[in-house]
């Protein structure tokens, strides 16, 4: 009887020891073996210059020897969801295993039954607001809305949203997409509104629309989608985009033209993106292994190299795991200290306001 209890005790102690070390351990050998048996992973919407995904993907391939099948890198969050829906029952190469979408798409995808839960081994170090309690979706990185400025055409860079209304920026300001459909431009409008409304989140959507209406009437707004090519060509010298995009576009230009990335002094909005595994993933184990890699220190730092703030940033910083050179390449930290992380409800509200109001308020019918 005594040795039964002792065995029980030692067993439970062993389990306790094992579970606490699991939090920082490598993915289990079974997972790796199962993933290798599947042989490949299908990703979607991962441009190589977005958050340094090029290197992250290469790192994953080198470490585990799996093949990665990359679908449409230019897809938006909506496209990724549609891709899962369209490929229900299809185990061919067109079906994505994992998605990387804007925060508000997590809960809606879960509600539609499109994703499956998985808690990575570093689960606990992910902030609670950035993940689903049941493990369906989890934040991966964030960035803040900033200005990308062409120094050839702009003598003095704007420091804040209100500056953009100045006459010297006539025909210069552009968004990175269509505010009726794209996450990035919608948040840009919100950020402008937040600055104009003095920090009042509830009023920011409406205020943002009015800001862009004024920008358009003053002739400062260029309705062309801002990207690397029109930026260099001169059509869109000032683009409102995520800091990591601005930095990597700027880098790719190699000084032609010289650029500057400015985090505005007010209206600093952070956008969180989330990872999830498709409920119909043809390679679920490869997908899980991918998640383990992304949330390991290696994966998180890979994103930081691409100028994105990984979700475990605070945890990594506290443990002194972040190399100084990486930190130096990012814009000054004070800008980020003011960043607002809108909640899901707040996001839903301002998205609705902006997408429905854009045409009425700003989009003057082209004559």
């Amino acid at each position: 009887m005594i040795h039964h209890t002792r065995r029980l005790l030692s067993l439970s102690t062993a389990v306790l020891v094992a579970s606490s070390s699991l939090a920082f351990a490598e993915p289990s050998a079974e997972l790796i073996a199962a993933a290798k048996a599947e042989g490949k992973l299908t990703t979607i919407a991962l441009p190589h210059s977005w958050c340094g995904y090029g290197d992250v993907i290469a790192g994953f391939k080198a470490k585990y020897g799996l093949e990665i099948n990359e679908l449409n890198p230019d897809a938006g969050s909506g496209d990724e969801i549609e891709a899962i829906k369209a490929n229900k029952g299809n185990t061919g190469d067109q079906a994505p295993d994992v998605i990387d979408v804007g925060l508000s798409f997590g809960p809606s995808a879960k509600a539609e039954g499109l994703i499956q839960p998985y808690k990575v081994s570093t689960w606990d170090s992910i902030p609670a607001e950035a993940k689903d309690a049941d493990g369906y979706w989890y934040g991966d990185y964030y960035g803040v809305m900033s200005f990308l400025v062409n120094k050839d055409l702009v003598k003095e860079s704007p420091k804040d949203w209100a500056d953009l209304l100045k006459p010297e920026f006539a025909n210069m300001v552009a968004l990175s997409g269509d505010p009726r459909t794209g996450n990035q431009p919608i948040v840009a409008v919100f950020a402008a509104g937040l600055s104009a409304a003095g920090g009042d989140i509830a009023k920011a959507g409406e205020a943002g629309l009015n800001f862009f209406k004024e920008l358009n009437e003053k002739g400062n707004f260029v309705p062309v989608t801002g990207k690397a090519a029109p930026f260099a060509q001169g059509t869109t010298p000032i683009i409102a985009a995520w800091d990591y995009n601005a930095l990597s576009w700027g880098d790719s230009l190699k000084g032609n033209p010289p650029f500057e990335v400015i985090v505005p002094s007010s209206g600093v909005v952070a956008g969180v993106y989330v990872q999830a595994i498709s409920a119909f993933a043809p390679h679920p184990n490869a997908a899980k292994l991918w998640m383990e890699y992304l949330y390991s220190d290696e994966g998180q730092l890979g994103w930081l190299k691409g100028y994105c703030h990984p979700i475990r940033f605070n945890d990594l910083a506290a443990n002194g795991k972040i190399p100084k050179e990486l930190l130096d390449k990012l814009p000054p930290a004070e800008g980020y200290a003011k960043a607002i992380f809108p909640t899901l409800d707040e996001q839903a509200t301002f998205k609705k306001t902006i997408t429905e109001g854009w045409d009425k308020v700003v989009g003057a019918a082209v004559q």
Partner: protein, 262 residues
Amino acid sequence: MKTNKILAWFVVAFGATYFIVPLLATFEFSLRMRRGEYSFDAYATVFSDVSFRESFSYSIAMAIATIAFGTLLVVPTAYWVRLRLPQMRPVVEFITLMPLVIPAIVLVFGYLRLYNSSSMIPFTGTTRGTDLLFLFALMTLSLPYTYRSIDASMRAIDVATLTEAAQSLGASWTTILFKCIFPNVISGVLSGAFITFAIVIGEFTIPSLLNRPAFGPYLQLIGANRAYEPPALAMIAFAMTWLSMGAIQLLSRFTISAPAKP
């Protein structure tokens, strides 16, 4: 006829200006990669990219296949409708107009639903199968243009008389189609072929969603984040497509004897 010629030259010159100037502007920008001087850096970057060569050759292969099978499908159909089923002409024409307004994205979603790996006709289950599905999709996309040009060409010849004459000489249907009708509509076939070629090279949505390594997705990928390479790529694609069409034109001149001029 002198005024005719002058007017003709004027029209062509005017058209040429309108078409060449935007290309010049694109070219000029693509040369600006190196700061302060003109250089072919952007082009060097593009040509050294393996994916460029692979995706372009894949698309060219698909283009040729689409032209071949598309022509094979449309010429007999247009001929038959003219000859035997004129009441079906409005229906067929309406069908051929549909690919223009049905967004490609809807078409592909439809394919994924109907022909995915767990359905009765699992095209997407294998790579070759997906290639085949892609081919059919491209044929569908080029249908409006090929049908319209071949039909315009066929209007000019009297199909009924030609057929009767050939039949009275004892020709079979295939002989009539390939030896009598086809050579007379070659002008329409070529026009359709040119348009099809350009469509296939540039098509993005379908190969993107079907996950085939075509040129369109490659173009999109480069265009998303690079500044100077996309215009360079556009120029290269333009030039190579033009050259390929010139090749098709030359080939047609040598392999198919021209019909006797009336």
